[in-house]
Amino acid sequence: MYFPLANLLTEPVGVAHYMVVGALMFVCGVICMATKRNALGILMGIELVLNGANVNFVAIGSPYLRGDAGDIGLDGQLIALFVIVLAAAEAAVALAIALNFYNSFSTIDVDRADQLHG
């Protein structure tokens, strides 16, 4: 059995440590999306999920963490940049929709958004 936390201060960290951080941010984002009632809270959960994916991309593409296990160049970092741009676009549109919803219904509670016709 391998204990990942036993020699954490003396061994170099690997991809798996970064992936645990990414997994925790992903899970926090999913819980945020599932439980928050504020529409902007759900948006923040989406940002957390995308950021967890970014951590994984950068870790997989990093030569410091992979060692000589495989050279994939800068693919991971480029895809992480694309994710950042797409997250910015998604946040802009979702925020516009949330503000429209707030202007129409005078609430930001997503449980009240059960009426399909505006």
């Binding site: 690997g14 645990v20 950068v58 990093s62 963490l65 549109v93 129409s104 005078s106």
Partner: protein, 202 residues
Amino acid sequence: MRGRRETDSMQAINWASVFFLLLAGLACAFAIAVVVTGNIVRMAFYLVLSLAATSGLFFLAGADFVGAMQLLIYVGGTLVLLIFGVMLTSQAPFINMRTGSGELLIALALGGTIFGVLAFAAFSIPEWRNGELAAVGPSLPSQTAGPIGMGLLGARVDAESIDDDKAGYLLVFEIISVHLLVVLVGAAYLARAKRRRDALPA
């Protein structure tokens, strides 16, 4: 004896691991704080700190340009947009909106299960456990901004092992550029100021 063991461990401390622990602890703690708190303003603040700590993790992994873009675009742009949204909609009944504890319990159980599975899967691959910095030290590019720019223009200069037929991200770069333009125009159209309708009765 205990003191000698401590000095031995002091000599062997890997400072990259120490900084990783610090930044990862900050990122994870503030990500959990985003979930736990019910106040939307505090959620935004914790999210800013979590994403800033994540940019520190990117710097630590050698991705300096992505870390800088994380700070500039994510923390400086996207989250400021979110905070504006919070300020525009922060009427008193919407700042604290609690979820039912039963739903929160189910979500925590499911999330803990998913996290356990993901962490176990990450550590079950032996090549991913330990990085080997010494093996790759001198051949690394010290700055990644130039190779990233060349990659976005369709010419890969970063890795010799990449074939020519799958090189370059020019098409993807053009697609996300036009996508971002269209999306921002659409968002400005959606969020334009218009005559306010009467609120529907609750």
